[in-house]
């Protein structure tokens, strides 16, 4: 799979929007923790991670939860894991 950062960002936003359809993606501040901006409980958050695994093929282990708090950090994290994504 080859995706650039913008495509990853769009994919992540689509996943979040599907689980929390009440949100306006345009209002998300990309460098602020996602869960302080969107009402996601623990089960929602696990579903976000499961959908990322399903759609983008990347598994985010518990040890890395600290690295995926904001939209920006999620995108950076995934971009590093998706091999061909570096050449945007």
């Amino acid at each position: 799979m080859s995706l650039n950062s913008e495509q990853i960002r769009a994919a992540v936003l689509a996943i979040v929007k599907r689980l929390a359809p009440e949100i306006d993606p345009a209002k998300i501040i990309a460098d602020k923790p996602l869960r302080t901006q969107i009402d996601l409980d623990s089960m929602d958050w696990l579903n976000v991670l499961a959908s990322i695994h399903e759609k983008l093929g990347i598994d985010i282990p518990e040890t890395d939860y600290g690295k995926v708090q904001t939209l920006d950090s999620i995108v950076t994290y995934l971009a590093e894991k998706i091999p061909a994504a570096a050449q945007e």
Binding site: R35, S42, M43, E62, T63, Y65, G66
Partner: protein, 584 residues
């Protein structure tokens, strides 16, 4: 699925030696009168939860000991001593008095686990106000419903929660005189609200205590039933006797302990054991502002040297799912006792605690109505993994036969399923459901409180949870009423009818699933499903809104027109429709 550590044959019992709990087997006979005497109370003396929890220590030799240690999302760590807590709660109580708040008035608190929440709850209790902490992820509808049922006069909340959830409701909440804001947005004054820091600065720190009696209402906890709106269970100041006694008997908590109750005060566990019980005992409580995060939790247990940890099955299952390697480089030599509440804890989880944390997990049982722990696996007794344990000292429990139209009878034979009933008279028993005297009366038969939980008791006196006698949903340990969710779905113009069930889930216990029947001229599609999901989440908040919505051509009804939620569940599980017996 939750991975289970490979332990094919585990014995049915974890044996305890008397050495495990020197304090628990001291041979003295338990009585509530003795508990009163320990707290220097006589039968007719005033009794106030906040006084016993805070002031008693704030003016003692250990006044400078940390009452709470707040761990912030930003990595901050702030100790708040009993002396400081005494001072802040006096100021808050005096600020309420200056606003004209009186004994018996209802004060709601809606915010995250920050200092102000704890100060507001305890300060309001001090002046005899009735306090109701609301869960921070409630959406506008649960908030409106609860404040209006209780005719709440004061709301303490953050600027962000106010703007997102409350401001638009103000016209529907005529009882709400004052909104006291914590300015988390840095925006300054907001119309129709007061700034909490300004009020606190202006208020004196002279003693705010207003004398309260043992039967004066203190706390209001909302809980859910299958039918009707949430019920406000009221508790009185003498409930503190149960909080104090059970912290020792069920949680093995001692004054020198560092204690961590992970529950949010918006749920009853987070108030009884996240605020009151450890303070009355004089212990130090950890409060983490952040929600569940496996690595963070492991770090807190280890680095804060937690001695007694009280948590919930969903969190434990999530930690189990994370895998034992996450714990490999961590040691917990200070951890002495672990307990769990919210729903029955699977035996594997009890063993997992022993394997990974070095201590087994002690399941216990109680509910909003009981105000405190009633049945528990304790430090002194052998654990039967999968069982909720035995009744605590001062609590008499029975298994009863309870069927409509027949008298309630006690079942004496072991291992027979019946409803769990408790003999009335323990101090933290609820004293009523707000404005619903009939529903309150229906909870009792003679001197027995009927819990609604189906259990069996084995020959050794251990109780085992079997199911609920009604259809309430338990998701991540929290009771959620189908009716509250259905009502919000039916507000949507496309919806003709909705039926809500708990769908079994390996991590959450149950997830909320809604079946929706659309009005005849409306066709189901994915966009509408997402729109309904958005509507429900906006109105109810993530904790109460359904995680799944399915369209159905019709819902099954009883002859009297009630939705047959059990049949919906039977179908969801793919069970034969005649067989509802396992769904009790």
């Amino acid at each position: 699925m939750v991975p289970v550590i490979d332990t094919p044959m585990r014995p049915p019992l974890i044996r305890k030696s008397p050495v495990d709990s020197p304090s628990a087997a001291n041979g003295t006979t338990f009585s509530w009168a003795q508990i009163s005497r320990e707290l220097a109370l006589s039968t007719d003396s005033p009794i106030n939860i906040a006084h016993l929890a805070v002031d008693r220590h704030a003016h003692s030799a250990h006044a400078d000991k940390a009452a709470f240690r707040f761990l912030g999302a930003d990595g901050s760590r702030r100790n708040l001593s009993y002396r400081e807590l005494g001072n802040l709660t006096d100021r808050f109580g005096n600020a309420l008095k200056a606003l004209g708040v009186q004994k018996g008035d209802c004060v709601f608190v809606l915010c995250g686990r920050i200092v102000e929440l704890y100060v507001a709850v305890l300060g309001a209790l001090k002046i005899g106000a009735v306090v109701s902490p609301l869960f921070q992820s409630f959406g506008p509808e649960p908030i409106r419903n609860r404040i209006s049922q209780a005719a709440g006069k004061v709301l303490v909340t953050t600027a962000s929660a106010y703007q997102h959830k409350v401001a638009a409701l103000r016209p529907e909440l005529p009882s709400l005189r004052h909104v006291l804001l914590i300015d988390d947005l840095g925006t300054g004054a907001i119309a129709d609200t007061l700034e909490l820091p300004v009020l606190m600065r202006a208020a004196p720190d002279t003693p705010a205590l207003v004398p309260t009696g043992p039967e004066d209402p203190a706390l209001l906890h909302f809980t859910s039933g299958t039918t009707g709106q949430p019920k406000g269970a009221t508790h009185v100041h003498s409930a503190v006797l149960t909080h104090y006694a059970t912290a020792r008997t069920a949680l093995d908590l001692h004054p020198d302990d560092v204690f961590w109750c992970t529950a949010d005060p918006g749920w009853v566990t987070g108030t009884s054991y996240g605020i009151i019980a450890p303070l009355v005992l004089g212990a130090t409580s950890i409060v983490d502002e952040v929600d569940f995060d496996p690595l963070r939790w492991i770090h807190i247990l280890e680095s804060e040297r937690v001695n007694v940890w009280y948590t919930a099955p969903t969190a434990i299952r999530l930690l189990m799912k994370a895998g034992p390697e996450l714990f490999a480089d961590h040691r917990f030599p200070d951890l002495r006792f672990i307990a769990s509440v919210g729903e029955a804890l699977n035996p594997e989880a009890v063993w997992w605690g022993l394997d990974v944390l070095g201590q087994p997990i002690h399941d216990n049982w109680w509910q909003s109505e009981t105000g405190g722990i009633m049945i528990a696996n304790t430090a002194a007794q052998d654990i039967k993994p999968g069982s909720m344990g035995r009744p605590l000292p001062g609590i008499a429990a029975h298994v009863v036969r309870h069927q409509a139209g027949a008298p309630v009878t006690i079942i004496g034979t072991p291992d027979t399923v019946g409803e769990l009933a408790l003999e009335t008279g323990w101090p933290s028993m609820f004293r009523g459901y707000l404005d619903q005297p009939v529903r309150y009366r229906d909870c009792f038969a003679g001197n027995l409180y009927l819990t609604g939980d189906l259990v069996r008791r084995d020959a050794d006196g251990y109780y085992w949870f079997v199911g609920r006698s009604d259809d309430v949903i338990k998701s991540s340990g929290h009771l959620i009423g189908s009716f509250e969710v259905e009502s919000v779905l039916m507000e949507h113009p496309a919806v003709a009818e909705a039926g809500v069930i708990g769908k079994p889930d390996a991590l959450a216990g149950e997830l909320i699933k809604a079946f929706v029947v659309l009005k005849s001229d409306i066709a189901p599609d994915e966009n509408l499903r997402l729109e309904l999901m958005a509507h429900a989440r906006r109105r109810l908040g993530a904790a109460v809104a359904p995680k799944e919505i399915a369209f159905a051509p019709s819902l099954p009804h009883t002859r009297s027109g009630k939705i047959m939620r059990r049949l919906l569940k039977t179908r969801e599980l793919g069970l034969p429709e005649g067989d509802n017996s396992t769904l009790a």
